[in-house]
């Protein structure tokens, strides 16, 4: 048994070879949420890009963000589309909006009963799912309802 939300065997995330999202994945392994932020206008954007869509600055970095947000949308998946999920049963994927990062959104799994009622707008906080012994090691960022 392990504490992983999904059964093992899905493709593991690695930093993009062009370097665009490397700091995000490195920070995640340390239990920190870092997202891309423009040094020109001070706004966050996600997913990362080489230019700021607001001010067209190429001077972009990554900044730590309070890892809490609210559920913008969700879906309960039933049909397995990957061999690793054959025995999984239903699971929940949430799209989380981050008010501390200019409302950018992230995708993750919602921890807990897969058949729970999910309410759009609910507050959630990040839960880091570390896979240190995997090859390659990586960390997924999931979400749990804030009590």
């Amino acid at each position: 048994m392990n504490d992983y939300y999904l059964n093992q065997g899905l493709p593991k995330p690695v930093a993009s070879p062009d370097g665009l999202d490397g700091p995000f994945w490195e920070a995640a392994q340390q239990g920190i949420l870092k997202l891309q932020k423009c040094r020109g206008c001070g706004k966050f954007q996600w997913g990362p890009e080489w230019i700021c869509h607001r001010c067209h600055s190429f001077d972009l970095g990554f900044s730590e963000v309070d890892a809490s947000g609210r559920i913008y949308s969700y879906e309960r998946v039933w049909h397995p589309v990957h061999p690793a999920l054959k025995e999984q049963g239903a699971y929940l994927v949430v799209l989380v909006e981050l008010p501390h990062a200019d409302q950018v959104r992230m995708v993750g799994n919602l921890i807990g009963d897969a058949e729970q009622d999910v309410l759009i707008g609910s507050d959630v906080k990040a839960v880091y799912e570390h896979h240190p012994d995997d090859d390659p090691s990586h960390t997924l960022i999931n979400w749990a309802l804030t009590q």
Binding site: P11, P13, A15, L20, G47, S73, Y74, V81, R105
Partner: protein, 399 residues
């Protein structure tokens, strides 16, 4: 130079017509007896026969969704003397179906080509499926932010948008069901349809398994093998063909502000991507939603059809439950006959080009679920992707 002249030169309205359509037999996914390229050739030759021309009269090819049947190889295989247009619309799914018609028409209207075939060919047994996740050890780029969480297929990508729209507007499952019912109803009249002889009831829909909420099995398109093609020429030339001309009134494509923002970050998220496109469609066509006699709307998933019908002005977003009732969408009696060949759900998933062909057949009076006196026939291609596209065909009376 007067404004009027400039304006009239910058429209496709009435400048181009469809003179031939054709398709291969439609197969279940992986069951085509022939390779994809041969299917493309068969559909093109069939469309030429339908138009009464030799394939050597073709001087242009347009397609979309990274069709693998290369235009130069097609031109060589068909013995074409003077290839003048080889055009591919960017973007996946069926968002390019009507855009490929727009691109072909723009070339014809501006003297870049004379006789263009729009086509799409798919053989998934040969080349693999859409609805399966990737089986590999690692993933990078945008997909690394979704696939490890089990979000990896089109159904899973788009369920997220539809769920939010249904939440915002209180939409009930029966609205999606009505779309599926219409496609299956019409497929029972269409011997070409893969689901011909396999009718759907509300009970079967309700009891079908979830793929991903809010999509039941019957909310999701098939995956099929086959090919479809359509021949376009200038409006002047179109009068000399066996069919009455089916004029193009409008064809546009595009998407709204940052529709392609990665990892589900489009600011306006719960949309079929038509909010900026539909007004341009109607403006070029000189028609309104109330003028549309028959509608084909691409069903990748029923939720996209629902949002696209809203965004094309047929229904207010808060009145979906009242508007999306079975009878409205049935030909010929309903007031908005929808997907009259069976569409992607029940005729064939040829990335939607079958919908464009069906729209033309409605103008010609050749549909297996013919609408009475169809004069304005509209197609919505590939809701929820980016870019999307749409087109309107018109009978002689609309010109």
């Amino acid at each position: 130079m007067t404004d009027i002249k400039t304006t009239s030169a910058r429209t496709l309205r009435g400048q181009v017509a469809v003179v031939g359509v054709g398709e291969t037999e439609y197969y279940k996914r992986g069951e085509a007896p022939d390779p994809e390229f041969k299917l493309a050739l068969e559909a093109i030759v069939t469309a030429c026969e339908n138009a009464g021309i030799s394939p050597t009269e073709i001087d242009g090819f347009t397609s979309y969704s990274n069709d693998r049947s290369d235009a130069s190889r097609l031109a060589a295989a068909l013995g074409i003397d003077d290839l003048r247009l080889a055009n591919m619309q960017w973007g996946g799914g069926g968002g390019g179906g009507s855009a490929a018609i727009a691109n072909a028409s723009a070339a014809i209207a501006t003297g870049g080509a004379e006789c263009v075939v729009v086509f799409r060919a798919l053989a998934q047994g040969q080349f693999g499926r859409f609805g399966q996740g990737p089986q590999r050890n690692t993933i990078s780029g945008e997909n690394a932010h979704t696939i490890p969480y089990g979000l990896m297929t089109p159904a899973q990508m788009f369920a997220m948008k539809v769920q939010r729209f249904m939440h915002d507007h209180g939409v009930e499952q029966a609205a999606l069901r009505a779309i599926s019912m219409a496609s299956y109803h019409h497929a029972q009249h269409n011997p070409r349809a893969v689901m011909y002889g396999r009718p759907l009831t509300e009970e079967i829909y309700d009891e079908s398994r979830w793929i991903v909420e809010p999509f039941h099995l019957y909310d999701c398109c098939q995956e099929n093998d086959g090919a479809a093609a359509m021949i376009l020429v200038s409006a002047e030339r179109a009068k000399d063909f066996p069919h009455p001309p089916c004029y193009l009134l409008s064809a546009v494509s595009g998407s709204h502000h940052r529709a392609g923002a990665p990892v589900h970050n489009a600011p306006d998220y719960a949309t079929s991507t038509f909010k900026t496109v539909a007004p341009r469609l109607y403006r070029m066509g000189g028609v309104e939603a109330s003028d549309v006699d028959v509608l084909q709307s691409y069903e990748n998933f029923t939720g996209g059809v629902m949002m696209s019908i809203v965004e094309h002005g047929f229904c207010h977003p808060d009145e979906v439950n009242e508007f999306f009732v079975n009878d409205r969408f049935l030909s010929p009696s309903g007031d908005l006959p929808l997907n009259t060949s069976g569409g992607n759900l029940a005729e064939c998933y040829m990335h939607g080009l079958g919908l464009n062909i069906e729209a033309v057949r409605q103008i010609w009076g050749e549909s297996t679920s013919q609408v009475n006196d169809a004069e304005v026939s509209m197609v919505i291609s590939g809701p929820m992707v980016t870019p999307v596209s749409a087109c309107i065909f018109g009978a002689e009376s609309t010109i």
